[in-house]
């Protein structure tokens, strides 16, 4: 019996010994090889990221970078949980939505010391993006890209219905009247699609109407303002008043982008990261083009623009190597690689032309041209606490169950409560 016990305890010890052996081997000095993990959410950009990593690795053979692609839907929950538990990635994509939350909560590292030491020129990036990641005077992310928006439309459907193609003279009224002519219920074709997706719907029209989602100081909701309500009404009217857009049920069941690339809708507001996806569908590549984002009733062209940054985890074990890679991600060369694939407009200025020429079938220049109207993306410290709730509540307006003004005021109340909680 005793021998059995001895053997069992030895067996139980074996994995411990193995672990101990491993850890003593991998004790890394400064010049030891290091593997960094880099978390992103867009599969479409994975190829560009991998090429950047390949070139970086050629210059820094001792630093390996591993990309982790997690879909947007679960990216943030995974990131927060893994950082909290200390198993998070060393570097990751950051959006303006979460920038303050991660910076003030201790998720991302302030980069000012490194920026100073490396003499990184922050004026090379689009100022609006740099500004969004500068929190309480410190920089928490190196700008990666910036979003432009446009009106994607189906050339063939426009020509078949003998409707003049959209140009930079268009305002909301032109969209409505064209949509009415293009809608053909017999053929199952709608002139326009009005999804309920803030960034791709009312975040584009609220600033044009002179409204605001959040006050510039980030403390109160703007959803109870008349102008804001007007900007939202543009979308619901398309469904409930003019009947030129599929219903919210339909856009929930079927992705609006798929409706566009299959010829079921003639117009859709789209973002500068989407043409690559549209071009991937042969019908889309042959029939879709991009026009400038139509102006508001008074000619206002402002819109809310998000832009990503690359951030470093506050808990990374390899801050020096992570900074080396971060610097490369923010470099001229990395911007060039991203622009040439046509996936994003780099935040590093001077590469917008390469993006504009990336997909010759589409007039991508329109996305670049309107960057000057970009307004900072609506965000507070804990944006997620009210942004999801707003989307949930606006469903009543989109389905016509309640007037926009009523829902919007209700959203303002919820949002103000959430913002008040932040101050505590």
């Amino acid at each position: 019996m005793k021998s059995v016990r001895r053997w069992t305890s030895l067996l139980l010890m074996a994995p411990l010994l193995a672990v101990a052996a491993c850890s003593s081997n991998s004790k890394a000095g400064d010049d030891q090889p290091v593997t960094l993990t880099y978390a992103i959410w867009d599969q479409a950009q994975a190829a560009a990221m991998k090429q950047i990593i390949k070139e970086f690795h050629a210059q820094h053979p001792k630093i390996d970078v591993q990309v982790q692609v997690t879909p947007w839907e679960s990216y943030w929950t995974k990131l927060q949980t893994s950082i909290t538990s200390g198993t998070g990635p060393d570097l990751f994509w950051m959006t303006m939505v979460y920038a303050k939350y991660y910076a003030t909560g201790g998720g991302t590292a302030a980069l000012d010391d490194q920026i100073k030491k490396s003499k990184l020129d922050m004026s090379a990036y689009v100022p609006a993006v740099t500004k969004a990641y500068t929190i309480n005077g410190k920089v928490y992310g190196i700008p990666k890209d910036v979003n432009g928006f446009g009106l994607c439309y189906n050339k063939s459907l426009f020509d078949a219905a003998k409707v003049k193609r959209p140009d930079d003279s268009w305002t909301w009224n032109d969209v409505v009247s064209a949509a009415q002519k293009l809608t053909n219920k017999q053929k199952g074709v709608y002139g326009f699609v009005a999804p309920e997706a803030d960034e791709l719907s009312w975040y584009l029209t609220v600033p044009q109407a002179g409204g605001q989602v959040i006050s510039p100081d980030g403390t109160t909701s703007g959803y109870d303002q008349e102008a804001t309500i007007k900007g939202i009404q543009f979308w619901t009217d398309m469904i409930t008043k003019y009947h030129v857009s599929p219903s919210l049920q339909q856009t929930t069941d079927t992705d609006p982008l798929a409706m566009l690339t299959s010829g079921k809708v003639a117009m859709r507001y789209c973002g500068s990261w989407e043409p690559e996806e549209i071009a991937a569908v042969p019908y889309g590549k042959a029939n879709i083009d991009v026009a400038p984002l139509p102006a508001g009733p008074d000619g206002n062209r402002n819109y809310y623009s998000n832009g990503l940054a690359n951030s470093m985890s506050a808990k990374t074990k390899h801050p020096d190597q992570a900074w080396e890679f971060l610097q490369f991600l923010g470099s001229d060369r990395a911007a060039e690689i991203q622009a040439k694939t046509g996936t994003v407009i780099p935040a590093y200025q001077g590469h917008a032309d390469a993006y504009a020429k990336a997909i010759s079938e589409f007039h991508l220049q329109v996305f670049v041209d309107q960057l000057k109207y970009a307004q900072p993306f609506p965000a507070s410290t804990d944006t997620a606490a009210w942004r999801d709730a707003a989307t949930k509540q606006f469903a009543d307006a989109w389905t016509g169950k309640a007037p926009v003004a009523e829902v919007s005021k209700r959203v303002a109340e919820t949002m103000n409560q959430a913002l008040a909680k932040e101050k505590k």
């Binding site: 929950t77 919210l248 339909q250 929930t252 069941d253 804990d382 606490a385 949930k392 989109w398």
Partner: protein, 317 residues
């Protein structure tokens, strides 16, 4: 028949063999040590991953959370918010509806299991595999497939309905139908697991009963209701308890098939979905823990009630 010769002759070697086999492992205190050792991994797993987190959750439900794990004691604040939160009320109602519909899986799987046990039934292995397939398929794959089937404009279900002149709804995005659509998938997915338990229950019923019933002139249907169902009640009880607990934890189908932006979300949001939403999407860990405690209480009460009621209808032996 001479009893003495035949009865004693083989008994001796058997007894001797038993003694010989036992000798290396006598029932001393050592066997308890062995049992403990062998149970240790399972017990440790249960303690670390189930029991300890339960107490942690109860503790966290009295705290208020900041970003990345920091939290402070906040007393009953989360529970006060919980009582006033209309989303919690909706979540309870939705969870109750899903649980009620999920009970359909119990009679359905009994019938499936009974049909498969019919003497002379062909292709049982194929059916058993087909019915069991959803149990071993990833929930995400199941949800995506059904999402396409349920699509209001291009889905297979509505296409079939249109063939008989019915204009089908947008199953998953219409607040009136979404919860039923999800529940149907839940019922469909659980039949396989239940069926396996019922099958083994049915195989435990002695065939003599059926033979006797047949001699008395009872038909298949009568046999099913008077022999199979009563003798299956222990399995039915087990499956019912498991079904209720599982349905209270409904999350994946809501998350994957309905989603945050659907107009049907308020009518399909379950307690676990609310837990996820508050805890992970809105970063309110303490409040999420309070929702978790509420779910724990609901599970305890419903399970206790079932154990009390079983005395009235479950026949053992």
């Amino acid at each position: 028949m001479t009893s003495s010769g035949t009865a004693t002759a083989p008994a001796e070697p058997v007894a001797e063999e038993m003694v010989r086999r036992r000798r290396p492992r006598p029932p001393t205190q050592d066997s308890g040590w062995w049992a403990a050792l062998l149970l240790l991994p399972a017990a440790a797993g249960l303690a670390i991953f189930e029991i300890w987190p339960t107490f942690q959750t109860i503790y966290y439900s009295f705290t208020s959370w900041g970003a990345f794990g920091g939290h402070v004691w906040s007393g009953l604040e989360n529970y006060r918010t919980l009582i006033a939160d209309s989303d919690v009320f909706h979540a309870i109602v939705n969870t109750a509806i899903i649980s009620a519909i999920s009970m359909l899986a119990v009679p359905l799987s009994i019938v499936v299991a009974a049909l498969m046990s019919l003497p002379g039934m062909r292709g049982v292995t194929i059916y058993r595999t087909l019915y069991f397939l959803p149990v071993v398929t990833l929930p995400a794959a199941v949800a995506l497939t059904w999402k396409y089937l349920f699509n209001g404009d291009y889905g297979l279900i509505n296409w079939l309905l249109s063939k008989v002149g019915v204009d089908g709804p947008h199953w998953l995005s219409d607040p009136a139908t979404a919860i039923f659509a999800i529940s149907i998938v839940g019922v469909w997915g659980s039949i396989g697991y239940n069926m396996v338990i019922f099958l083994s229950g049915i195989h435990g019923i002695p065939l003599d009963y059926y033979e006797a019933a047949e001699l008395d002139g009872a038909g298949r249907v009568s046999q099913f209701f008077h022999i199979t169902v009563p003798l299956l009640t222990p399995s039915i009880f087990f499956v019912t308890v498991i079904t209720v607990i599982n349905s209270l934890q409904a999350f994946d189908l809501v998350y994957l098939m309905v989603g945050q932006t659907s107009p049907a979300i308020t009518r399909t949001e379950t307690l676990v979905y609310l837990f996820y939403q508050r805890g992970f999407a809105e970063h309110d860990g303490g409040y999420a823990a309070a929702v978790g405690v509420l779910l724990l209480l609901a599970t305890l009460i419903l399970t206790a009630a079932q154990f009390r009621l079983q005395r009235r209808w479950v026949h053992y032996g």
